[in-house]
Symmetry: C2
Subunit: 299 residues, 2 copies
DNA sequence: CGTTGTTGATAGGGATTGGCTATCATCTGG
DNA sequence: CCAGATGATAGCCAATCCCTATCAACAACG
C-alpha cells in the first residue's frame, strides 16, 4: 500500500471529482485514477462508486476513510516531529474557530507566530460541530470554541476568554440614553440572530428560555457581518459576544449596551486533540495559548 | 516516504540489529539498509546512530518512533476495517495480560475466537505498565489488567473479574486443619512474592500496609510458576489471586486458604485504546469481553 | 439529431526505485 | 593472525509510478 494512494483517496473523497482531486494532489488525472485502482486492488475491495462519473464512496470506502485520515495525520505528525527538533516549526497551522471566537484569532495568531516564525496560520470559520469533526479527522491542528458544551472526545484545552453578551442597535433608534437593557424587552424587539445550527444562537436561545422567554427572530444570518449590516439598516437589533463588539466598537452609528442580568459567562478556549504522541502543531498551539493566558490579553 | 521504510525503522528499533530486523520484515539486509537510508534522506535527518554496528536511535529517531508506530497502527486499522466489512476478521489478535490475569485468557480467547473464527490470538504476559505503553504504541490490540489503578489515557474497558486473594502453602507444613489465615500471621512467615515492579505485588504491599504490616519476603520471583515451585519445596508460602489458584487447584500437594478479612476486590478487565475510528480488533475484543461479562463465567 | 464539453478509463513509454545477490570493510574474540 | 559478525556498497533486474495522448460514455444544447 502506498501513502500517496491514500492521499489520492482522501482528496477524492473531499473533492468528489477525479480531475479536481488530481490537481489538488499535484498529479495528472490518469495518475490519480490508476493510483486509486491500485489501492482498490491492494485492499481487494471496490472503494469508489463510479458510473462514468464520481458517484460516491462504497461502504468499504466510507469505512476506511477515517483510517486513511488517521494514517496521513500521523505521517504529518512524523514529519513535523522530525523537523521540529532541529529547526523551527514550518508549514501551515490550520486553526478552526467558531464565528464568536474570530476576534480572538488575532491575539492567538500573534502569540503563535511570535513563538514560531516559520509557521503560517490559516483560519477557518466553522461551527463547533465542524471543528470537533475536523480535529478528529486531522483537518485542523487546533480549534477555538466553547469549552463547556462539547462532549469532548479526548481533547486538551486552554481557556482564553469568557464570553459576555452585548445588545447591539443603531444609534438614533431610541436607545441612546439607555445604560442597559433587559432580556424580556429584547425578546420583544425585531431581532436578527445567527441560525439555529450555530452554537452562539443555541446559547442565546437557552438564555432566553432560562428567563421564561422565547424568540422568533424575523431575520437570521450565518455571520456577524451580516447581522451588523442588518442592524445598520435600523430595522433590527441583535446580540453580540463582547469580544466581537470590541472589534467593531469604533463604528459611530453603532450602539452597544450591556444586559442588566448577565448569565454565567461561557468559556472559550483553544482545543487540540489529545493523542499519545502529541503533534508539534498541537504543542505549539497549546504553548501559544498558554502564553496568551498568562498575559491575560485576549481580544 | 514509503510505508515499508517505516516498517523497517520500527523493526530496527525493536530488534536493534540490522540483519534480524531485515529478517523480521522478510527482506534482505541490504534492502533494509537502503530503505533506512532512503527514510533518513526523505526526512533530511540521521535517525540511526551507527558505528559499524547498531548503536541506537538518534534524538530525531526517538522522536519519530512513536509516530511511525501510529502510522503503522492506523494502516493496520485501515486494512482490518476494509476486510472486516465483507468477511470475518482475520489475522492475529495481540492480547497482553498481567500475570495475575493469565487464567482469564482462556475464557476470553474462547469467546473471541468463537465470535471470530478467522482470528488467531497471541497472548503476551506483561506488566500493567508495559501493557499501557504497548496499547499506546499499537504493539497490542487489547490488554487484560487492573482497571482501577491506571492513569487511564483514553481507554475503554470491560470488567471481567474481581480479584480475591488466597494463601498458598504446601500440605503437611502445619496448615492442613486451618480454614483461614489472617494477614498478620502471614506477614511473619517465609513468603515468596512477585518483585516490586509488578502490580499484584504492589497491591499486596498496600494491603499489608493497610493492616499496619510490612513484609520483606525472603524470596522474590517474576512469575507465579516460580512461586508455586518455591511453595512446593515446603520452605515458603505465598499469596495467589483466586483465579490463578483455581487453575492449579488440582495439585494434591497444594493447599489454598482464604483470608479472614478480604480487602476490597480489585477489578480486572479488558482494555482497548479509545481512538476515534475504533479498530475492528479493539471492537472484536470488546464484544468478546462483553459476551463473557453477560455469561458471568470468567476463569 | 448532431455538436460540444465533461468525466473518467486506457495505452504506451520513460524514469525512478525497491529488491536481490555478491562482495567488501571494519570490528571483536580467541 | 584468523574466524565470525555486522553493516555498507556495487551491479543488476523488475516493478511501478507518473506522464502525455487518446478514447468512450454521457449530458447539455441548439
Amino acid at each position: 500500500m502506498q501513502l500517496q494512494h491514500l492521499r489520492y483517496f482522501t482528496a477524492l473523497a473531499r473533492e468528489r471529482h477525479f480531475a479536481r482531486a488530481a490537481s489538488a494532489c499535484g498529479v495528472s488525472q490518469p495518475t490519480l485514477s490508476a493510483g486509486l485502482s491500485a489501492l482498490e486492488h491492494d485492499l481487494g475491495k471496490r472503494l469508489i462508486e463510479r458510473d462514468r462519473r464520481f458517484i460516491g464512496l462504497t461502504e468499504e470506502g466510507a469505512a476506511i476513510l477515517p483510517w486513511a485520515e488517521q494514517v496521513l495525520g500521523a505521517v504529518r505528525g512524523l514529519t513535523h516531529a522530525s523537523a521540529a527538533l532541529s529547526v523551527e516549526l514550518q508549514g501551515e497551522f490550520r486553526l478552526a474557530a467558531i464565528p464568536a471566537a474570530l476576534p480572538l484569532v488575532g491575539a492567538f495568531g500573534e502569540a503563535l507566530l511570535a513563538q514560531n516564525r516559520g509557521l503560517a496560520m490559516s483560519v477557518h470559520s466553522q461551527t463547533s460541530r465542524e471543528i470537533e469533526r475536523g480535529l478528529a479527522a486531522n483537518t485542523f491542528d487546533a480549534g477555538i470554541t466553547y469549552l463547556d458544551h462539547e462532549p469532548a472526545g479526548n481533547v486538551l484545552s486552554v481557556p482564553l476568554h469568557e464570553e459576555q453578551y452585548l445588545f447591539v442597535a443603531r444609534r438614533g433608534t431610541g436607545f441612546d440614553g439607555r445604560t442597559c437593557v433587559d432580556w424580556a424587552e429584547v425578546a420583544e424587539m425585531r431581532l436578527c440572530l445567527l441560525h439555529q445550527g450555530m452554537q452562539f444562537r443555541r446559547i442565546l436561545d437557552r438564555q432566553f428560555a432560562d428567563c421564561g422567554l422565547s424568540v422568533m427572530p424575523p431575520a437570521i444570518a450565518d455571520s456577524y457581518v451580516s447581522l451588523l449590516s442588518l442592524v445598520r439598516s435600523g430595522e433590527f437589533v441583535t446580540i453580540f459576544p463582547a469580544a466581537y463588539a470590541d472589534l467593531v466598537s469604533g463604528l459611530d452609528w453603532c450602539l452597544f449596551l450591556p444586559f442588566d442580568a448577565e448569565p454565567a459567562p461561557r468559556r472559550i478556549g483553544l482545543v487540540v486533540v489529545d493523542r499519545d504522541p502529541m503533534g508539534p502543531m498541537a504543542r505549539a498551539g497549546l504553548l501559544a495559548a498558554q502564553a496568551l493566558q498568562r498575559v491575560g490579553k485576549v481580544g
